[in-house]
């Protein structure tokens, strides 16, 4: 393919640097240019070559496409075919791109927001540090244990030792099995009342917590304890396989024995 140079002159008609399309080389020349959405026909003739200020004569073209083409024809009557043709071509192109511009502004545009490298790096670093400071696993475990103590889970998990009973155990130095048996009984009786009146204290959404407990308490009243225990043991057995996950994560080489739920847990 033949390579051609571009012309840098703003009045050039085709954009290429040729003898026939150079506005400096031709004393009779015409161009179409647009300004702020309106198209003008610029004409240069030899009579005005001595007056650079008046050299280019400007004619406003109509907004109507056909009318504008007729106007070009009128103004460039008796001019070389080449110029007339190229002017009309250029005018067509210009109107097409103006139409496209107007259509685009109506649509939603994707706005590109540049990232700033320094800020990105700073935020990444701060995020890492925040992650370390957060100690997520510990926080989650603590929260779950809190919820267990606050009895949001109701009777699903049947741990014999409960939060406020632990205090009792610390005070009394009696034998474990007796106190546990007593506590289980007490717990069964008190659970029904406790659930309705005790508030969750340090959860962020107290509404949420309350709603939960009201629901579980209603569940409890319907089901019997035996069924709940069965369900709990079932869920425990269902939980055996995922238990291997975290356990394995912590101590990969030690075998884990699962205790039966009926055995009292001594802690």
């Amino acid at each position: 393919t033949k390579t051609q140079n571009f012309c840098r002159n703003e009045y050039n008609l085709t954009g290429l640097c040729n003898r026939s399309s150079c506005p400096l080389a031709n004393s009779q020349y015409a161009t179409v240019r647009e300004e702020k959405g309106r198209c003008y026909l610029y004409m240069k003739s030899i009579e005005r070559a001595a007056f650079p200020r008046r050299l280019w004569e400007r004619v406003l073209l109509s907004k109507n496409y056909e009318r504008a083409l007729e106007e070009i024809d009128e103004n460039l009557i008796y001019w070389p075919r080449f110029l007339r043709h190229k002017c009309k071509q250029r005018f067509t192109k210009i109107t097409q791109y103006l139409i496209r511009m107007r259509r685009l502004t109506l649509r939603r545009r994707r706005k590109l927001v540049p990232l700033r490298r320094k800020i990105e790096r700073r935020e990444n670093r701060r995020e890492e540090k925040a992650l370390i400071a957060a100690q997520l696993d510990n926080a989650i475990e603590k929260e779950l244990l809190e919820r267990l103590k606050q009895d949001t889970y109701g009777d699903i998990y049947n741990f014999p030792i409960h939060a406020f009973d632990k205090a009792l155990q610390q005070q009394e130095a009696e034998s474990d099995s007796d106190s546990e048996a007593e506590r289980e009984e007490e717990e069964e009786e008190e659970d029904v009342d406790k659930r309705e009146f005790v508030e969750a204290e340090d959860s962020e959404l107290s509404d949420f917590e309350d709603m939960d407990k009201l629901d579980t308490s209603s569940e409890e009243e319907q089901e019997e304890e035996e069924e709940v225990e069965k369900k709990a043991s079932h869920s425990k057995s269902k939980g055996k396989t995922p238990l291997k996950g975290p356990a394995r994560r912590k101590r990969p080489y030690i075998e884990i024995e699962y205790e039966e739920e009926t055995e009292p847990k001594t802690k």
């Binding site: 939603r108 400071a133 779950l144 962020e204 949420f208 394995r248």
Partner: protein, 324 residues
């Protein structure tokens, strides 16, 4: 030349005995022009500092033990969380005004159990592989959620359609260079819209664990550390994504933990091994969010009323000031 630099010139490797050498008191290690010698001197100085520090620690510990019960309590180390600039919008749990506000804001129907959350998850135009998979995984994590792709549809036009079809929340995941990097969470019947910057997204297969995928049970929600008013409203937004009644049988928990204005999302399965021990196993995707702006109405970038925007010049000036 000059100032009595320590090792004898020509004696490259061996350290001279320190008693032989005297330094003028204004000498500092950085004045030696020779890099090797300077480095050597610096290393020696560092070792000396470390020894001194160790000696000091030991002494303090001995004093502590010697005093026994009368010893003064251990000093609490300063952390950023300790030194945090007090934010006047911190929520007091007993504040009535806050409670009243929360009872009447846009989430009240959710918290009063009048609405069931129904979520629509979508992306920006032309999502690439990672984003698509992330959307799918997010849909499994959040119950009652649907993923729809949009090809060039304006958000403003799909919002009325969503409202008509009874969706309560809209999540748009914005993508950049094939990875998700932004999240727009909008509560639908003219609820607030929060725009987050999302980072370190890990899909399920990239997380090191050996669990199975999340089941259909409704997970519990944990919201940690949302202390200010702004944090409270964001926390409620997150809570409104999940149905109100978690199924404890499923033993799944979704956590939104706020630390220094970064919200970490994790999804775990837990099991209580005993009364005081719980094991958690991470399933599900994880990501971190940083709030960029909170708008009062639904998503509207031009005419929306912004409740909060992150202004970098004003808000990032202090290391100990956080807004959530």
């Amino acid at each position: 030349a000059g100032e009595g630099s320590g090792p004898v010139p020509g004696d490259g490797a061996g350290p001279p005995a320190p008693e032989r050498v005297l330094f003028p008191p204004t000498f500092s290690v950085s004045e030696i022009k020779n890099k090797q010698r300077r480095h050597f001197m610096f290393v020696r100085w560092k070792q000396q500092q470390r020894k001194e520090k160790l000696a000091l620690k030991k002494k303090r510990r001995k004093e502590r033990e010697a005093l026994g019960d009368k010893a003064p309590p251990k000093a609490v180390p300063k952390t950023i969380e300790n030194q945090r600039v007090y934010d006047e919008t911190t929520v007091d749990p007993n504040d009535e005004e806050v409670a009243f506000d929360e009872a009447t804001d846009e989430f009240a129907p959710y918290f009063n159990r009048q609405t069931v959350p129904k979520i629509l998850i979508t992306t920006s135009d032309r999502p690439r592989g990672r984003t698509v998979r992330f959307c799918e995984q997010l849909a499994t994590v959040i119950p009652n959620s649907h993923v729809y792709y949009r090809r060039g549809l304006a958000l403003k036009r799909i919002i009325p359609q969503c409202i008509a079809r009874d969706f309560t929340d809209l999540i748009v995941i914005n993508e950049d260079r094939k990875i998700p990097n932004g999240l727009v969470l909008s509560h639908l019947p003219d609820g607030p819209t929060a725009h987050f910057r999302m980072s370190s997204v890990r899909l399920r297969k990239e997380i090191k664990r050996k669990g199975k995928e999340p089941t259909e049970h409704v997970p519990e929600v944990i919201l940690n550390n949302f202390t200010t008013r702004l944090g409270h409203s964001i926390g409620r937004m997150f809570a409104a994504l999940f149905p109100h009644d978690p199924q404890f049988v499923g033993r799944q928990v979704a956590t939104f933990h706020n630390q220094r204005d970064y919200i970490f999302f994790r999804f775990h399965r837990y099991i209580f091994k005993s009364e005081k021990k719980v094991g958690i196993q991470e399933l599900g995707p994880r990501f971190t969010l940083k709030l960029r702006s909170l708008q009062k109405g639904t998503f509207d970038s031009k005419f929306g009323e912004y409740e909060w925007i992150h202004k970098r010049r004003e808000m990032d000036t202090s290391r100990r000031k956080f807004h959530l």
